[in-house]
């Protein structure tokens, strides 16, 4: 009997729960084809950044005008080019090409800076043929006068605005940093999120002690990062309607299984693909099947949510008691 790995995410029927999360790996068609060939059931494209588009535009305009009409021998330093593609055309083309190149669902990802940007780009993305849209709300409030309530409402407003202009399913990729994560999830669920992606990774900068500089420094996730999505997936599973997609720290089939059992409908891979190559998806799938076969599972659906807070033997493990228990039983290394 073949193992039934199928799952449904954002209304999309997927062959397996192994989805590639947004990363530069999906910036090329070659990368997307390799992901499909390796068994990815869907691909989330790298994000379209409204801020980047605006910055590129302003930077280019500023340089094209900076030294004009200043010198006798050169009234300008660049040829006059009639039109530029200031908008998201290349991203939208990428969606179109990705759709044509791959049979698996293509989920676009969007990071906006203004409500107008979120909605107009969302429409463009839908029109370009994306199967679904992931809102990458990478929002780091640093202003002490901005309240938590304001931050939460901003998330809801963005989702509501986007949902009002597109018909494709919309997921929200979230940060874990809310006073009450469960409440935030519920508010987004109520606002019509088709899925919640847990969690966005924040690339906190590092310090260079030699040069005394703050450096952006991307660190790939480690399996330890799994605990955070594992916890909240388990807590939220069964309590909200939205699908739960878990991401961060998924390097092996065991990691994927844990998240599925916590209640995730999909588990998203990124760092593992950088570390072990895109073909690692196939390895994980193989291990997944082997593990499930050995233990006589017949489908992903069967195990999904089996260890969520609702369904596990010890729901208090996800609450304050586990903190006390953990500390009191810790014996050191």
């Amino acid at each position: 009997m073949t193992m039934d790995l199928t799952t449904t995410y954002l209304g999309l029927k997927l062959r397996t729960p192994l989805v590639c999360s947004a990363s530069p790996l999906s910036e090329t068609l070659d990368g997307i084809r390799r992901m499909e060939d390796a068994g990815a059931s869907a691909v989330v494209l790298s994000s379209l950044f409204e801020e980047q588009l605006a910055r590129d535009r302003d930077d280019l305009i500023s340089h094209l005008t900076a030294n004009t009409n200043a010198f006798s021998e050169a009234q300008s330093f660049f040829p006059a080019i009639g039109s530029f593609h200031w908008g998201p055309e290349s991203y939208l083309n990428h969606i179109r090409k990705a759709k044509a190149a791959a049979k698996i669902p293509i989920i676009a990802s969007l990071n906006g800076t203004s409500l107008g940007g979120w909605t107009s780009y969302a429409k463009d993305i839908q029109n370009a043929g994306a199967d679904a849209l992931e809102l990458n709300i990478y929002y780091i409030p640093t202003d002490p006068s901005v309240s938590g309530e304001h931050v939460e409402q901003t998330h809801v407003d963005i989702l509501t605005a986007v949902r009002s202009v597109v018909s494709i399913p919309v997921a929200v990729k979230l940060a874990p940093f809310f006073s009450n994560m469960a409440s935030m999830a519920k508010r987004l669920d109520d606002a019509g999120a088709g899925g919640l992606v847990l969690f966005n990774r924040f690339y906190q900068p590092d310090f260079d002690l030699e040069k005394l500089e703050v450096r952006p420094n991307l660190l790939l996730s480690t399996p330890q990062a799994l605990r955070l999505p594992l916890h909240w997936t388990a807590v939220l599973s069964g309590r909200i309607k939205a699908d739960l997609a878990a991401t961060s720290g998924i390097h092996t089939a065991m990691d994927s299984l844990k998240l599925l059992m916590a209640g995730a409908t999909t588990t998203m891979l990124c760092s593992a693909l950088y570390k072990f190559g895109i073909e690692h998806i196939r390895v994980i799938e193989g291990e997944l099947v082997r593990w499930m076969t050995e233990r006589e599972y017949h489908s992903v659906a069967q195990l999904r949510g089996s260890m969520s807070q609702r369904n596990c033997a010890d729901p208090s493990a996800f609450e304050r008691q586990q903190y006390i228990r953990t500390l009191t039983t810790y014996k050191g290394l």
């Binding site: 280019l60 030294n67 009409n69 009234q75 039109s83």
Partner: protein, 1181 residues
């Protein structure tokens, strides 16, 4: 006015015609014609079609000579072909022009006529170039205005087909090529109606084809060559009539009538001036003004100069004329007369007008003004009983007294023409705003408009002066505004430096951008300006434009603000209409780019009007401040009296006697021109500094200097002078200072970017930080003067190869007018520090010759002994050969001196002679000792009468080694000068070549060279350069005996230093390719060194040194000094420079292909270099 009007300059108008009538266009940049080629290239890249529905093939060549050759080939195979050029470019085309004419081939070259380089290069307009080509057999058709340039371009293309004689169509460089005017353009149907398709077919029929083979370009002998030259006479004889017929046809189609020789003036005139070019327009208007007051004068405009038709010229001249002045815009030294004068005299002789009194004059060389007052002076001279037979006008010749006096206050400009002048900085958008203004007025009203812009010779802090006229009639005034109704000064820093208000007519308006506010502004003016305002009853307005711009998110671009103020005050348009027109133009300009920009600018317009204030001029009292002297008070007399006026914009007033007779100028003069450009300047924090001198080595303007000195030297130091203990043990017990020359700094901030030291408590601060300049200027001027008085560090004590040591050497290249943050000048400064006292430089034309040698001042300097780089610019194309000539000369004179010294051993003493002859002169100490010995030798020789001794005395300085460096940009080294460079490098001679590689022709505006990397957008490569960068270094390495290196100071400064030292020490030719960032890369110049580093880290750039000496020692000659640490990061690097981003944003698909190929290029090239670096030479057999 019909809707076919357009507001444009002659370059665009001419290119518009030429493009539509051409199939092959060969181009090469040269000022002031470059824009014509740029238009052609742009239109072709946009797919614009010619008259026959094809996109012309537009090809950039490696030189104008190459362009002419390519055109010759295209013409010979039956295409319609054209090119555009000027000045030296035309000279390079002459050999082909003789061929093209000799073969009776229809063609048109459009020339923006420009001075030829003689005692100096000049980019400005006169007829020196076209006159040098007048014997080539080409017809020469001259246009006098923008409208004529458009019309006669078409006449030239039509007439060449019928006559089979090729045409040079020319117009005055800058004055016409760059003047913007409202003209009637030529619609396609008019152009089509002027061109006879049968003549095109005939031309094609004569084209070479194997289907009907013929032979052309034979070699002929004394028996038939002469007759063959005469065989074409009838074709030339037919030209004047055909041209006139073509002009008449145009008149029927457009209503605009031209004559090959056109008289304008009183039918019974007694005095007439004959002239070609824009001066004819001035004379036309002057004649009208003089005749209106009862004079009987006229002007005869020569449009067809070759073939010259004596009969038509005489026929055009009224019978009443008694005396004629022929005006030439060129000079032919030693001739019996200038060319047009001689042609006119010969014509009168032949045409039965031998009785005329004819005098000849020169005017307008290098765009020298030719005003109505000067034109009147010519007519006045003709009235005299004994006029000067040869004269000049427009200058004061107090040496040979040829010049005519003119009354500068005599003017013919009436009140119906509104005149406005604006002083701005290149970076503040003034010129752009004014171009926009004349479009608003010209397009929204029936007014005619004219605009002409005068630019500074400096590239940093460049001043622009805009001259705008608006009037009800076609504006016939090709000269600068002398009395303006409105003067806008967009920069407070100009106040007190320039006598701007002298230009304002009584009752006029003075608008000043100042932060002072309406109450305090009056006190900021020098007393001269206050007096002008009172005496002329000027209306004085102020606005803090920078504040308005900043507050509305426009940064330093004050163009919109000042434009709104102009419209509000001037009343050229009703206020509401003007504001709406500005709004409309803002939407047009920015609408496609960004709604946000539109809104910011619209808001700025509103705020400008709210913040504009009229100043109440106080009735009495005046300020104590007077105009600032243009050069520092301590400057030598000659600098103050000659260069000073040039700095102050008063160079026109200098007489002939003030000028060097042979173009030789003193060096070390930039130090006297304190420009005070920087708003922010670097300030040294001695407590944080690690004394690495990185800020010193990168400073493009040599304004940051270190010294170590004995503590006693600090006696009398100004109170804010900083010092600390040196970090190096060698200098223990001494004091260290890093001093900034605040008044010479451009505020580029590149020093702060490279500073590696950070404040331990506040890491955003470094050892050098930018601070507002104004509060520092006074104190820092004193500190700088004190610093200069401190003794220089003894060069013999410095450790070679150490930046922190080498940078103590005084730069002999300082305070250049190069762009703020320039990537080229740090290399030249380093060169001057290392070898300046024994340096001969041959400098190719380009940026480095402009910031190095453009008057008024030069950055090349002298040390305390009076030694320093001796610098000369020959041409663009011959620089390597020029430098080689210097080397041959130097070697020869050294050889002669050595021979003489040997023969005089007994006279001067064997020991001294031997020590001089055997000196190795390898390092500073050796050179120092040699100079001491030569000084002793000179003393011994001084009293000797012997011929040999006197000859040796004259040659003795050549016994000290000289270093010959050949310097130029990539346009020179990779393209136009490559043949010569290759030959010179192959010669094996001891010359050093420094290529300042910006990967484009920077000076002429960023045209593609063969150094341009793949995927970069440059002019002549709008669609991204499809080809990989030429590997000049690899080509040079193939000879085996050339020291070759690639350096990038911003990536690895130590390697740069090491390379310069190795190259100079190598006894043979050396080539250093120095990567230089540039404003043409579209990067933030403050952090440009990071771009250099990224280029090296991603493999876009490979740093290396190839030394034949290492090969001789059995080692691998090639050493790689960089390694791609981010080999797959090229994409990120390309994204960081807008020259590449332009392609990504305009043609993303093509960009992807080219960027992928560029990545592949980098990888392949690295593999090759890695392989080569591992190769040791074969052992000798």
């Amino acid at each position: 006015m019909p809707k076919t009007h357009k507001i444009l300059d002659a370059n665009e108008a001419v290119a518009d015609v030429a493009y539509r009538l051409s199939e092959v266009v060969a181009i090469y940049p040269i000022t002031p014609s470059s824009a014509m080629g740029e238009w052609a290239d742009q239109w072709a890249s946009e797919g614009r079609k010619n008259l026959w529905g094809d996109v012309p093939s537009v090809m950039e060549m490696q030189s104008e000579g190459g362009a002419a050759g390519a055109i010759h080939g295209a013409l010979q195979t039956g295409s319609l072909a054209t090119t555009f050029t000027a000045s030296q470019g035309l000279l390079l085309m002459i050999p082909n022009m003789y061929k093209i004419a000799g073969e009776l081939t229809p063609a048109v070259f459009h020339i923006a006529a420009r001075s030829l380089a003689t005692h100096a290069l000049s980019i400005f307009g006169d007829h020196g170039d076209v006159m040098a080509a007048r014997a080539s057999g080409w017809a020469m058709l001259c246009s006098n205005s923008v409208q004529e340039a458009s019309d006669l371009a078409l006449v030239a293309h039509a007439a060449t087909l019928e006559t089979r004689v090729p045409f040079m169509h020319f117009f005055d460089g800058f004055r016409t090529s760059h003047e913007i005017n409202k003209i009637q353009t030529l619609p396609d149907e008019t152009v089509r109606a002027m061109i006879d398709e049968a003549l095109i077919e005939a031309h094609r029929g004569r084209g070479l084809t194997p289907d009907r083979p013929v032979l052309r370009g034979t070699a002929q002998n004394p028996d038939v060559f002469f007759q063959s030259r005469e065989a074409a006479n009838s074709f030339y004889a037919a030209v004047p009539a055909i041209v006139q017929k073509t002009m008449d046809k145009l008149a029927k189609l457009t209503g605009r009538s031209y004559k090959v020789y056109e008289y304008h003036g009183a039918p019974d005139a007694e005095r007439v001036a004959i002239v070609m070019g824009s001066g004819a327009e001035t004379l036309h208007a002057t004649v009208d003004a003089l005749n209106a007051s009862g004079a009987k004068v006229g002007v005869l405009k020569v449009r067809l100069y070759r073939p010259f038709d004596a009969a038509l010229l005489c026929a055009a001249l009224p019978a009443s004329v008694k005396s004629v002045a022929v005006l030439d815009r060129t000079k032919e030294p030693g001739s019996a007369g200038e060319p047009l004068f001689l042609d006119a005299v010969a014509s009168f002789q032949r045409g039965g007008r031998a009785g005329l009194r004819v005098i000849g004059g020169i005017y307008g060389l290098s765009s020298k003004e030719f005003t109505p007052a000067m034109a009147k002076a010519v007519f006045d001279e003709l009235s005299k009983a004994s006029p000067k037979p040869r004269f000049t006008v427009g200058i004061e010749d107090d040496v040979t007294y040829l010049s005519l006096k003119h009354d500068p206050d005599w003017s013919i400009e009436g009140d119906e023409v509104v005149r406005a002048v604006f002083y701005g900085l290149g970076s503040d958008g003034t010129v752009g705003a004014n171009k926009n203004t004349i479009h608003i007025i010209g397009d929204h009203t029936d007014s005619f408009v004219q605009a002409y812009f005068v630019y500074d010779s400096k590239k940093s802090g460049a001043m622009t002066v805009s001259h705008l006229r608006f009037g009800p009639e076609q504006i016939r005034a090709p000269y600068l505004i002398e009395k303006t109704n409105f003067l806008g000064c967009h920069q407070t820093s100009f106040v007190g430096r320039y006598k701007m208000l002298r230009m304002i007519a009584p009752g006029g308006v003075f608008l000043l951008n100042t932060a002072a506010g309406p109450l305090a502004a009056w006190e900021t003016l020098p007393k001269e300006d206050q007096e002008e305002i009172r005496a002329k009853k000027l209306r004085f307005f102020v606005i803090d434009a920078y504040k308005v711009a900043r507050d509305n998110g426009l940064g330093g671009r004050i163009n919109t603000v000042m434009q709104a103020c102009f419209f509000s005050i001037s009343g050229v348009l009703p206020k509401e209409r003007a504001v709406e027109a500005i709004r409309e133009s803002i939407r047009e300009a920015y609408g496609k780019k960004s709604e946000e920009l539109v809104n910011k600018n619209l808001k700025a317009v509103e705020e400008s009007l709210k913040n504009l204030h009229q100043v109440v001029v106080p009735a009495g009292g005046h300020a104590h401040a007077s105009l600032v002297p243009p050069v520092a008070p301590g400057a030598p007399d000659w600098v103050r009296s000659v260069l000073g006026p040039i700095c102050a914009g008063e160079g026109d007033r200098l007489p002939v006697s003030a000028m060097p007779v042979d173009g030789t100028y003193p060096t070390a003069t930039a130090q006297w021109e304190k420009r005070g450009l920087a708003q922010e300047v670097p300030v040294w924090d001695e407590s944080v500094c690690i004394q690495c001198a990185k800020c010193v080595i990168v400073c493009p303007h040599a304004v940051i200097r270190p010294k170590v000195y004995m503590p006693a030297e600090l006696a009398g130091a100004p109170p804010t002078f900083k010092s600390c203990d040196p970090k190096d043990r060698e200098w223990k017990g001494m004091k260290y200072t890093l001093q900034v020359s605040v008044e010479d700094c451009t505020g580029c901030g590149i020093c702060v970017d490279v500073c590696p030291a950070r404040n331990k408590s506040e890491t955003k601060l470094k050892a050098i930080n930018m601070r507002p300049a104004a509060p520092l200027v006074e104190a820092e001027r004193k500190n700088w003067e004190f610093f200069l008085e401190l003794p220089e560090v003894d060069r013999r004590l410095l450790k070679g190869g150490s930046i922190r040591h080498e940078q103590f050497q005084r730069p002999l290249f300082e305070f250049s007018g190069a762009c703020a943050g320039c990537g080229e000048t740090p290399y030249l400064k380093l060169l001057s520090q290392l070898y300046g006292d024994r340096l001969l430089i041959a400098n190719a034309t380009g940026c480095s010759s402009i910031y190095g040698g453009n008057l008024p001042t030069t950055p090349w300097a002298k040390n305390e002994e009076g030694r320093g780089p001796a610098w000369a610019n020959s041409l663009f194309e011959d620089n390597a050969e020029f430098g080689l000539g210097m080397r041959l000369s130097e070697d020869h004179q050294t050889g002669a001196a050595r021979d003489l010294l040997k023969s005089l051993e007994n006279v001067v003493g064997a020991e001294l002679a031997r020590s001089i002859l055997d000196a190795s002169q390898k390092d500073e100490a050796d050179i120092y000792d040699q100079r001491e010995r030569v000084a002793e030798l000179k003393k011994k020789l001084a009293g000797l009468k012997d011929d040999k001794a006197r000859r040796l005395l004259a040659l003795s300085d050549h016994l000290t080694r000289k270093s010959v460096w050949i310097v130029g940009g990539d346009g020179w080294a990779y393209d136009i000068g490559y043949g010569g460079l290759d030959h010179v490098l192959a010669s094996g001679k001891n010359v050093k070549v420094l290529v300042l590689d910006t990967e484009v022709y920077s000076n002429t505006g960023g045209q593609k060279s063969k150094s341009t990397p793949r995927g970069a957008v440059a002019k002549f490569s709008s669609g991204g350069n499809p080809a990989a960068k030429k590997d000049l270094g690899l080509m040079a390495m193939s000879y085996g005996n050339i020291y070759v290196a690639s350096v990038a100071m911003g990536a690895r400064d130590e390697q740069t230093l090491k390379t310069f030292i190795e190259a100079e020490a190598y006894d043979g030719p050396a080539l250093i390719i120095a990567y230089s960032h540039c404003i043409a890369h579209g990067i933030d110049m403050r952090t440009a060194n990071q771009n250099q580093k990224a280029a090296a880290d991603t493999g876009k750039l490979i740093l290396y040194r190839y030394s034949p000496d290492r090969a001789k020692a059995g080692e691998a000659p090639l050493i790689l000094d960089s390694k791609p640490t981010r080999p797959n990061g090229l994409g990120a690097y390309l994204a960081s420079e807008n020259r590449f981003q332009m392609l990504a944003k305009s043609k993303p698909e093509e960009a992807k292909v080219l960027f992928d190929m560029a990545q592949q290029d980098a990888a392949t090239r690295w593999e090759l270099y890695e392989y080569l670096a591992g190769r040791k030479p074969r052992p000798a057999i």
